[in-house]
Symmetry: C2
Subunit: 208 residues, 2 copies
């Protein structure tokens, strides 16, 4: 299809598509005339991928470029996971954390055998520390529930990746799942809070 049809199919404007092409987010079309190129289904999917990463995931164009490059290079999945995760998550400086917060997190995820520089471990410790600073503190049963839920979700993430056949699609699933998975969980958590409140108090969040 021509660029105008690609625009109609995806809802992305022609200038936006040209921008993606220029920035290397979108592979070039097949040249059909000196000033014309044709695009296929792969381009439609890639544009939707870019939109999902920017609109739902809030990624910058530079971030999207990093993760789409990981897909295009057919990197081993371990690298794809690493790049997707490091792009999505802010890196927390270990020196900004106190020992107590790290020890609390390590207590909760003791049998996960995390590396000491694991970015999730550091980010979780920062949350625990921030929570404590507000004068409240997170209970260990609260943290345990989150850790247990995170394992359920992580296993489902790996299961989903295993259903994909080729390496490129698997890497795409890693990237999309990492970015959209956070948004999905946050959304379902909101609905679940309302549902759990109704069960417990007969009305959303109405215990006082």
């Amino acid at each position: 299809m021509k660029i105008s049809a690609l625009s109609e199919h995806t809802g992305a404007s022609v200038p936006t598509i040209k921008y993606y092409l220029r920035e290397g987010l979108l592979p070039a079309g097949e040249r059909s005339a000196p000033n014309q190129a044709t695009y296929g289904e792969a381009h439609v999917r890639r544009i939707h991928l870019i939109r999902a990463l920017t609109d739902v995931g809030g990624l910058s164009v530079a971030d999207v470029k990093r993760v789409t490059e990981a897909i295009d290079k057919e990197l081993p999945l371990s690298h794809a996971f690493e790049i997707a995760q490091s792009t999505v998550s802010e890196q927390v400086d270990p020196d900004s954390l106190d020992e107590d917060a790290l020890a609390t997190v390590d207590g909760v995820i003791a049998d996960w055998a995390c590396a000491s520089d694991d970015s999730g471990r550091l980010a979780a410790a920062r949350v625990v520390m921030n929570f404590r600073h507000t004068g409240q503190g997170a209970s260990s049963s609260w943290l345990d529930a989150y850790a247990q839920a995170a394992l359920v979700v992580a296993e489902a993430d790996l299961d989903l990746v295993e259903t994909r056949r080729d390496l490129e699609t698997r890497a795409e699933t890693v990237v999309v799942g990492t970015v959209l998975g956070d948004a999905l969980f946050a959304a379902l958590r909101r609905s679940a809070q309302a549902a759990a409140s109704v069960r417990r108090y007969g009305y959303p969040g109405r215990q006082q």
Copy 2:
């Protein structure tokens, strides 16, 4: 304590504290002289709360003002939940969603008795739709695992709120838990993916 001591205790600069006071995020101190006020532990905690919401949660100052007002007004918890959630979550326009995506989500959370305009339901449907547009689709077992995990976390959230004694602290926990909970879960999910990969493949994410 004086404003300079408050700054030392919290790590927030004096101009930043004055900005919080001016914007109404922080209650005024007790006037001790015509040009001087003293501050207490409640101010320390509130500054840490503001920092947690802005730094970890990425909330704007206007958003922080909305949620701290909810705390200060000692609104019923149902309102505190509502305000915290609507501040944190982007509102999704139902008209932007397709029927398929909504039906998929409704199938997964059928027994939650969600309202049709439940913001979590709409946001989840948007994720499902975006996922599908990338040409991949989210399997129902993947969605089920997320929903199950979200319920575990939601019950833990309510349990945590119930451990607090007074209404103000409860409202604070709702706000902090809503904002920091998303960050905590995303962090633990990263570590859990690495842990689950090691269990399954002997190395983080190394199946290919």
